[in-house]
Protein backbone atom coordinates (compact mmCIF):
# COMPACT_ATOMS: atom_id res chain seq x y z
CA UNK A 1 0.00 0.00 0.00
CA UNK A 2 2.86 2.37 0.74
CA UNK A 3 4.17 2.12 -2.79
CA UNK A 4 1.95 4.98 -3.87
CA UNK A 5 1.38 7.41 -1.01
CA UNK A 6 0.40 10.28 -3.31
CA UNK A 7 -2.53 8.39 -4.72
CA UNK A 8 -3.64 7.28 -1.26
CA UNK A 9 -3.62 10.88 -0.04
CA UNK A 10 -5.65 11.95 -3.05
CA UNK A 11 -8.16 9.15 -2.48
CA UNK A 12 -8.63 10.11 1.17
CA UNK A 13 -9.02 13.78 0.14
CA UNK A 14 -11.69 12.80 -2.38
CA UNK A 15 -13.42 10.66 0.23
CA UNK A 16 -13.36 13.39 2.90
CA UNK A 17 -14.54 16.13 0.52
CA UNK A 18 -17.65 14.23 -0.51
CA UNK A 19 -18.23 12.92 3.01
CA UNK A 20 -18.58 16.54 4.14
CA UNK A 21 -21.06 17.42 1.38
CA UNK A 22 -23.30 14.42 2.04
CA UNK A 23 -25.13 15.22 5.27
CA UNK A 24 -25.82 18.92 4.82
CA UNK A 25 -28.41 18.64 2.08
CA UNK A 26 -32.11 17.93 2.41
CA UNK A 27 -34.69 16.86 -0.09
CA UNK A 28 -32.92 15.35 -3.02
CA UNK A 29 -29.73 15.32 -4.95
CA UNK A 30 -30.11 18.64 -6.72
CA UNK A 31 -29.54 20.46 -3.46
CA UNK A 32 -25.99 19.09 -3.43
CA UNK A 33 -25.02 20.51 -6.82
CA UNK A 34 -24.02 24.04 -5.73
CA UNK A 35 -22.09 22.56 -2.79
CA UNK A 36 -20.21 20.12 -5.00
CA UNK A 37 -19.34 22.97 -7.36
CA UNK A 38 -18.08 25.10 -4.49
CA UNK A 39 -15.92 22.34 -3.04
CA UNK A 40 -14.32 20.87 -6.17
CA UNK A 41 -14.02 24.05 -8.27
CA UNK A 42 -13.45 26.86 -5.79
CA UNK A 43 -11.91 25.24 -2.74
CA UNK A 44 -9.97 22.29 -4.14
CA UNK A 45 -9.42 23.46 -7.71
CA UNK A 46 -9.87 19.90 -8.93
CA UNK A 47 -12.16 20.79 -11.81
CA UNK A 48 -12.24 23.87 -14.04
CA UNK A 49 -15.38 26.00 -14.09
CA UNK A 50 -15.98 25.27 -17.78
CA UNK A 51 -15.77 21.52 -17.17
CA UNK A 52 -18.10 21.32 -14.19
CA UNK A 53 -21.20 22.06 -16.31
CA UNK A 54 -20.32 19.17 -18.60
CA UNK A 55 -19.84 16.91 -15.61
CA UNK A 56 -23.27 17.83 -14.23
CA UNK A 57 -24.82 17.33 -17.68
CA UNK A 58 -23.39 13.82 -17.92
CA UNK A 59 -24.37 13.08 -14.31
CA UNK A 60 -27.89 14.11 -15.21
CA UNK A 61 -28.14 11.94 -18.32
CA UNK A 62 -26.93 8.82 -16.53
CA UNK A 63 -29.45 6.84 -14.47
CA UNK A 64 -29.39 7.55 -10.76
CA UNK A 65 -29.24 10.54 -8.45
CA UNK A 66 -27.40 13.51 -9.93
CA UNK A 67 -25.38 14.26 -6.79
CA UNK A 68 -24.04 10.73 -6.44
CA UNK A 69 -23.36 10.56 -10.17
CA UNK A 70 -21.50 13.89 -10.14
CA UNK A 71 -19.38 12.80 -7.18
CA UNK A 72 -18.58 9.48 -8.84
CA UNK A 73 -17.67 11.14 -12.11
CA UNK A 74 -15.43 13.74 -10.48
CA UNK A 75 -13.75 11.00 -8.45
CA UNK A 76 -13.15 9.04 -11.63
CA UNK A 77 -11.60 12.00 -13.42
CA UNK A 78 -9.27 12.66 -10.50
CA UNK A 79 -8.11 9.16 -9.64
CA UNK A 80 -9.64 6.55 -11.92
CA UNK A 81 -11.83 3.69 -10.73
CA UNK A 82 -10.65 3.85 -7.10
CA UNK A 83 -11.34 7.59 -7.09
CA UNK A 84 -14.87 6.98 -8.37
CA UNK A 85 -15.51 4.45 -5.60
CA UNK A 86 -13.98 6.69 -2.90
CA UNK A 87 -16.19 9.61 -3.95
CA UNK A 88 -19.30 7.48 -4.20
CA UNK A 89 -18.86 5.92 -0.74
CA UNK A 90 -17.98 9.31 0.71
CA UNK A 91 -21.12 10.99 -0.59
CA UNK A 92 -23.36 8.05 0.38
CA UNK A 93 -22.08 7.18 3.86
CA UNK A 94 -23.50 10.00 6.04
CA UNK A 95 -26.95 9.98 4.46
CA UNK A 96 -26.98 6.18 4.64
CA UNK A 97 -26.61 6.22 8.41
CA UNK A 98 -29.02 9.11 8.87
CA UNK A 99 -31.68 7.25 6.85
CA UNK A 100 -31.06 4.04 8.82
CA UNK A 101 -31.43 5.95 12.11
CA UNK A 102 -34.59 7.67 10.90
CA UNK A 103 -36.02 4.32 9.71
CA UNK A 104 -35.24 2.80 13.09
CA UNK A 105 -36.92 5.71 14.83
CA UNK A 106 -39.93 5.62 12.52
CA UNK A 107 -40.44 1.88 12.97
CA UNK A 108 -40.45 2.43 16.76
CA UNK A 109 -43.00 5.24 16.79
CA UNK A 110 -45.22 4.48 13.79
CA UNK A 111 -47.97 2.85 15.86
CA UNK A 112 -48.28 5.76 18.26
CA UNK A 113 -51.72 7.42 17.77
CA UNK A 114 -50.23 10.90 17.34
CA UNK A 115 -47.79 9.64 14.69
CA UNK A 116 -50.61 7.80 12.94
CA UNK A 117 -52.65 11.01 12.92
CA UNK A 118 -49.71 12.97 11.51
CA UNK A 119 -49.26 10.45 8.73
CA UNK A 120 -52.93 10.61 7.69
CA UNK A 121 -52.23 14.21 6.66
CA UNK A 122 -48.67 13.56 5.44
CA UNK A 123 -49.93 10.92 2.99
CA UNK A 124 -52.12 13.54 1.29
CA UNK A 125 -49.06 15.81 1.16
CA UNK A 126 -46.98 13.06 -0.47
CA UNK A 127 -49.65 12.79 -3.20
CA UNK A 128 -49.22 16.57 -3.64
CA UNK A 129 -45.42 16.16 -3.84
CA UNK A 130 -45.71 13.52 -6.54
CA UNK A 131 -48.21 15.68 -8.43
CA UNK A 132 -45.77 18.58 -8.11
CA UNK A 133 -42.96 16.39 -9.48
CA UNK A 134 -45.23 15.40 -12.39
CA UNK A 135 -45.98 19.07 -13.18
CA UNK A 136 -42.30 20.03 -13.04
CA UNK A 137 -41.05 17.15 -15.16
CA UNK A 138 -44.05 17.58 -17.44
CA UNK A 139 -42.98 21.15 -18.19
CA UNK A 140 -39.63 19.97 -19.57
CA UNK A 141 -41.14 16.93 -21.28
CA UNK A 142 -44.23 18.29 -23.01
CA UNK A 143 -42.50 20.36 -25.69
CA UNK A 144 -44.79 19.52 -28.61
CA UNK A 145 -47.91 17.53 -29.61
CA UNK A 146 -45.96 14.28 -29.96
CA UNK A 147 -44.61 14.40 -26.41
CA UNK A 148 -48.02 15.33 -24.97
CA UNK A 149 -49.49 12.32 -26.80
CA UNK A 150 -46.69 10.10 -25.43
CA UNK A 151 -47.43 11.24 -21.86
CA UNK A 152 -51.13 10.46 -22.31
CA UNK A 153 -50.32 7.12 -23.91
CA UNK A 154 -48.07 6.13 -21.00
CA UNK A 155 -50.75 6.92 -18.40
CA UNK A 156 -53.30 4.99 -20.49
CA UNK A 157 -51.05 1.95 -20.88
CA UNK A 158 -50.24 1.87 -17.15
CA UNK A 159 -53.89 2.25 -16.21
CA UNK A 160 -55.48 -0.22 -18.60
CA UNK A 161 -52.80 -2.69 -19.71
CA UNK A 162 -50.09 -2.30 -17.08
CA UNK A 163 -46.79 -3.03 -18.77
CA UNK A 164 -43.72 -3.04 -16.50
CA UNK A 165 -42.38 0.56 -16.27
CA UNK A 166 -38.85 -0.65 -17.05
CA UNK A 167 -40.03 -1.86 -20.45
CA UNK A 168 -41.91 1.40 -20.99
CA UNK A 169 -38.78 3.43 -20.20
CA UNK A 170 -36.61 1.39 -22.58
CA UNK A 171 -39.38 1.68 -25.18
CA UNK A 172 -39.54 5.42 -24.54
CA UNK A 173 -35.87 5.92 -25.37
CA UNK A 174 -36.21 3.91 -28.58
CA UNK A 175 -39.44 5.71 -29.50
CA UNK A 176 -37.68 9.06 -29.04
CA UNK A 177 -34.87 8.02 -31.38
CA UNK A 178 -37.42 6.69 -33.90
CA UNK A 179 -39.65 9.77 -33.81
CA UNK A 180 -36.78 12.24 -34.22
CA UNK A 181 -35.33 10.22 -37.09
CA UNK A 182 -38.74 10.07 -38.77
CA UNK A 183 -39.43 13.78 -38.24
CA UNK A 184 -36.08 14.71 -39.74
CA UNK A 185 -36.72 12.47 -42.72
CA UNK A 186 -40.05 14.24 -43.25
CA UNK A 187 -38.27 17.56 -43.02
CA UNK A 188 -40.06 18.64 -39.84
CA UNK A 189 -38.35 20.94 -37.41
CA UNK A 190 -37.56 19.38 -34.05
CA UNK A 191 -36.45 21.42 -31.07
CA UNK A 192 -34.02 19.41 -28.99
CA UNK A 193 -31.98 22.30 -27.75
CA UNK A 194 -34.07 23.36 -24.77
CA UNK A 195 -32.02 21.32 -22.33
CA UNK A 196 -28.95 23.36 -23.26
CA UNK A 197 -30.74 26.63 -22.66
CA UNK A 198 -31.83 25.72 -19.17
CA UNK A 199 -28.97 23.81 -17.62
CA UNK A 200 -29.09 24.13 -13.82
CA UNK A 201 -31.54 26.26 -11.94
CA UNK A 202 -30.07 26.28 -8.47
CA UNK A 203 -33.08 27.97 -6.94
CA UNK A 204 -35.41 25.19 -7.88
CA UNK A 205 -33.47 22.03 -7.78
CA UNK A 206 -34.83 19.88 -5.08
CA UNK A 207 -37.07 17.61 -7.07
CA UNK A 208 -35.86 15.34 -9.82
CA UNK A 209 -37.24 17.45 -12.58
CA UNK A 210 -34.00 17.87 -14.40
CA UNK A 211 -33.85 14.49 -16.09
Amino acid sequence: MNSNPGKLTLLSQIFMTFLKIGPVTFGGGYAMIPLIEKEVVERRGWVKTKDITDIFAVAESVPGAIAINSATFIGYRLAGVSGAIAAMIGVMLPTFFIVVLLSLFFLQVQDHPKVEAAFVAIRATIVALITYAAIKIGKTAAVDKTTVALIGLTVGIMYFVHIHPVLLIIGGGLTGIGIIALKQKLGMKVDLEQEDNAPFKYSDYYIGDGI
Binding site: G22, T25, F26, G27, G28, G29, D54, V58, A59, P63, A65, N69, T72, Y76, T95, I98, V99, S103, L104, K114, A117, F119, V120, A121, I122, R123, A124, T125, I126, V127, A128, L129, I130, T131, Y132, A133, A134, I137, A141, A142, T147, I151, L153, T154, I157, M158, Y159, V166, I169, G172, L174, G176, I180, A181, L192, Y206, I207, G208, D209, I211
Partner: protein, 179 residues
Protein backbone atom coordinates in the same frame (compact mmCIF):
# COMPACT_ATOMS: atom_id res chain seq x y z
CA UNK B 1 -34.55 -12.33 0.14
CA UNK B 2 -31.30 -10.37 0.40
CA UNK B 3 -30.49 -11.31 -3.17
CA UNK B 4 -34.03 -10.28 -4.19
CA UNK B 5 -33.55 -6.86 -2.60
CA UNK B 6 -30.23 -6.35 -4.34
CA UNK B 7 -31.46 -7.50 -7.76
CA UNK B 8 -34.67 -5.45 -7.51
CA UNK B 9 -32.84 -2.20 -6.80
CA UNK B 10 -30.07 -3.07 -9.24
CA UNK B 11 -32.66 -3.33 -12.01
CA UNK B 12 -34.36 -0.10 -10.94
CA UNK B 13 -30.95 1.59 -10.76
CA UNK B 14 -30.30 0.89 -14.43
CA UNK B 15 -33.36 2.75 -15.68
CA UNK B 16 -33.76 5.42 -13.02
CA UNK B 17 -33.36 8.31 -15.42
CA UNK B 18 -34.31 11.58 -13.83
CA UNK B 19 -33.54 10.76 -10.23
CA UNK B 20 -35.69 12.18 -7.48
CA UNK B 21 -39.39 11.48 -7.50
CA UNK B 22 -39.13 10.08 -11.03
CA UNK B 23 -38.04 6.78 -9.51
CA UNK B 24 -41.06 6.47 -7.23
CA UNK B 25 -43.29 4.76 -9.84
CA UNK B 26 -40.56 2.19 -10.53
CA UNK B 27 -39.98 1.39 -6.87
CA UNK B 28 -43.74 1.25 -6.27
CA UNK B 29 -44.13 -1.23 -9.16
CA UNK B 30 -41.51 -3.61 -7.78
CA UNK B 31 -42.02 -3.28 -4.02
CA UNK B 32 -45.81 -3.00 -3.79
CA UNK B 33 -47.12 -4.52 -7.02
CA UNK B 34 -44.66 -7.31 -7.86
CA UNK B 35 -43.11 -8.37 -4.54
CA UNK B 36 -45.84 -7.28 -2.13
CA UNK B 37 -43.18 -6.34 0.44
CA UNK B 38 -45.36 -3.52 1.73
CA UNK B 39 -48.82 -2.04 1.19
CA UNK B 40 -49.32 1.09 -0.91
CA UNK B 41 -49.97 3.05 2.28
CA UNK B 42 -46.80 1.81 3.99
CA UNK B 43 -44.88 2.74 0.86
CA UNK B 44 -46.33 6.27 1.05
CA UNK B 45 -45.00 6.53 4.62
CA UNK B 46 -41.57 5.36 3.46
CA UNK B 47 -41.48 8.15 0.87
CA UNK B 48 -42.44 10.64 3.57
CA UNK B 49 -39.55 9.56 5.80
CA UNK B 50 -37.16 9.41 2.81
CA UNK B 51 -38.29 12.91 1.84
CA UNK B 52 -37.49 14.19 5.31
CA UNK B 53 -33.99 12.68 5.26
CA UNK B 54 -31.01 14.41 3.69
CA UNK B 55 -29.71 13.06 0.41
CA UNK B 56 -31.29 11.75 -2.78
CA UNK B 57 -34.87 10.63 -2.25
CA UNK B 58 -34.75 7.45 -4.34
CA UNK B 59 -31.61 6.12 -2.68
CA UNK B 60 -33.10 7.00 0.70
CA UNK B 61 -36.24 5.06 -0.19
CA UNK B 62 -34.13 2.03 -1.18
CA UNK B 63 -32.18 2.21 2.11
CA UNK B 64 -35.38 2.46 4.18
CA UNK B 65 -37.05 -0.46 2.37
CA UNK B 66 -33.90 -2.57 2.67
CA UNK B 67 -33.64 -1.81 6.38
CA UNK B 68 -37.35 -2.47 6.89
CA UNK B 69 -37.10 -5.87 5.20
CA UNK B 70 -33.74 -7.24 6.29
CA UNK B 71 -32.07 -4.87 8.75
CA UNK B 72 -28.68 -3.29 8.19
CA UNK B 73 -27.51 -5.89 5.63
CA UNK B 74 -30.70 -5.28 3.66
CA UNK B 75 -30.10 -1.53 3.76
CA UNK B 76 -26.50 -1.92 2.52
CA UNK B 77 -27.48 -4.28 -0.29
CA UNK B 78 -30.40 -2.11 -1.43
CA UNK B 79 -28.19 0.99 -1.50
CA UNK B 80 -25.48 -0.89 -3.40
CA UNK B 81 -28.02 -2.27 -5.87
CA UNK B 82 -29.32 1.22 -6.51
CA UNK B 83 -25.93 2.90 -7.10
CA UNK B 84 -23.90 0.15 -8.79
CA UNK B 85 -25.54 0.63 -12.22
CA UNK B 86 -24.70 4.35 -12.10
CA UNK B 87 -21.10 3.54 -11.18
CA UNK B 88 -20.78 1.02 -14.00
CA UNK B 89 -22.27 3.37 -16.58
CA UNK B 90 -20.15 6.33 -15.46
CA UNK B 91 -16.97 4.24 -15.61
CA UNK B 92 -17.93 3.06 -19.10
CA UNK B 93 -18.75 6.56 -20.34
CA UNK B 94 -15.70 8.07 -18.67
CA UNK B 95 -13.50 5.54 -20.40
CA UNK B 96 -15.04 5.96 -23.84
CA UNK B 97 -16.36 9.38 -24.57
CA UNK B 98 -17.31 11.92 -22.04
CA UNK B 99 -19.17 14.43 -24.14
CA UNK B 100 -21.73 11.79 -24.99
CA UNK B 101 -24.65 13.96 -23.87
CA UNK B 102 -24.12 16.24 -26.86
CA UNK B 103 -24.89 13.50 -29.33
CA UNK B 104 -28.09 13.64 -31.39
CA UNK B 105 -28.91 10.05 -30.52
CA UNK B 106 -28.86 10.71 -26.77
CA UNK B 107 -30.95 13.85 -27.17
CA UNK B 108 -33.51 11.96 -29.25
CA UNK B 109 -33.68 9.19 -26.65
CA UNK B 110 -34.30 11.74 -23.88
CA UNK B 111 -37.02 13.37 -25.97
CA UNK B 112 -38.95 10.11 -25.64
CA UNK B 113 -37.74 9.21 -22.15
CA UNK B 114 -38.94 12.43 -20.53
CA UNK B 115 -42.48 11.90 -21.80
CA UNK B 116 -42.60 8.31 -20.57
CA UNK B 117 -41.29 9.29 -17.14
CA UNK B 118 -43.81 12.15 -16.90
CA UNK B 119 -46.56 9.66 -17.77
CA UNK B 120 -45.31 7.24 -15.13
CA UNK B 121 -45.31 9.94 -12.45
CA UNK B 122 -48.80 11.09 -13.43
CA UNK B 123 -49.92 7.48 -13.11
CA UNK B 124 -48.15 7.21 -9.73
CA UNK B 125 -49.94 10.36 -8.54
CA UNK B 126 -53.31 8.84 -9.50
CA UNK B 127 -52.42 5.55 -7.82
CA UNK B 128 -51.24 7.26 -4.62
CA UNK B 129 -54.37 9.41 -4.53
CA UNK B 130 -56.57 6.30 -4.78
CA UNK B 131 -54.55 4.27 -2.27
CA UNK B 132 -54.52 7.02 0.33
CA UNK B 133 -58.24 7.72 0.27
CA UNK B 134 -58.28 10.97 -1.67
CA UNK B 135 -60.84 9.68 -4.15
CA UNK B 136 -63.02 7.49 -1.97
CA UNK B 137 -66.62 8.05 -0.81
CA UNK B 138 -67.91 11.56 -0.21
CA UNK B 139 -67.24 12.35 3.44
CA UNK B 140 -65.69 15.04 5.61
CA UNK B 141 -62.60 12.87 5.95
CA UNK B 142 -62.10 12.65 2.18
CA UNK B 143 -62.79 16.36 1.89
CA UNK B 144 -60.20 17.21 4.55
CA UNK B 145 -57.58 15.06 2.77
CA UNK B 146 -58.28 16.79 -0.55
CA UNK B 147 -57.94 20.13 1.24
CA UNK B 148 -54.54 19.11 2.67
CA UNK B 149 -53.51 17.90 -0.79
CA UNK B 150 -54.56 21.21 -2.36
CA UNK B 151 -52.85 23.37 0.25
CA UNK B 152 -49.66 21.29 0.05
CA UNK B 153 -49.59 21.63 -3.73
CA UNK B 154 -50.17 25.37 -3.42
CA UNK B 155 -47.34 25.69 -0.90
CA UNK B 156 -44.98 23.84 -3.26
CA UNK B 157 -46.03 25.37 -6.56
CA UNK B 158 -47.00 28.90 -5.65
CA UNK B 159 -45.00 29.70 -2.53
CA UNK B 160 -42.06 27.41 -3.30
CA UNK B 161 -41.78 26.13 0.22
CA UNK B 162 -39.21 23.37 0.62
CA UNK B 163 -40.80 19.87 0.61
CA UNK B 164 -39.31 19.03 4.01
CA UNK B 165 -41.18 21.93 5.65
CA UNK B 166 -44.39 21.09 3.78
CA UNK B 167 -44.22 17.50 5.08
CA UNK B 168 -43.51 18.66 8.65
CA UNK B 169 -46.30 21.28 8.60
CA UNK B 170 -48.72 18.71 7.21
CA UNK B 171 -47.77 16.33 10.04
CA UNK B 172 -48.55 19.02 12.63
CA UNK B 173 -51.90 19.66 10.95
CA UNK B 174 -52.56 15.91 11.05
CA UNK B 175 -51.84 15.68 14.78
CA UNK B 176 -54.22 18.59 15.42
CA UNK B 177 -57.03 17.46 13.13
CA UNK B 178 -56.94 13.66 13.33
CA UNK B 179 -55.16 13.15 16.68
Amino acid sequence: MLWDLFITFFMIGFVSFGGGYAMIPLIQEEIVHNHGWMTAQEFTDVIAVAGMSPGPIATNTAIFIGYNQMGLTGAVLSALGMILPSLMIILAIGAIFYKIQKSMMVKSAFYGLRSIITGLIVYAAILFAVNNGLVSSISWHTFSLILIFGLSLLALLRYRIHPVYVIVMSGLVGVTVYG
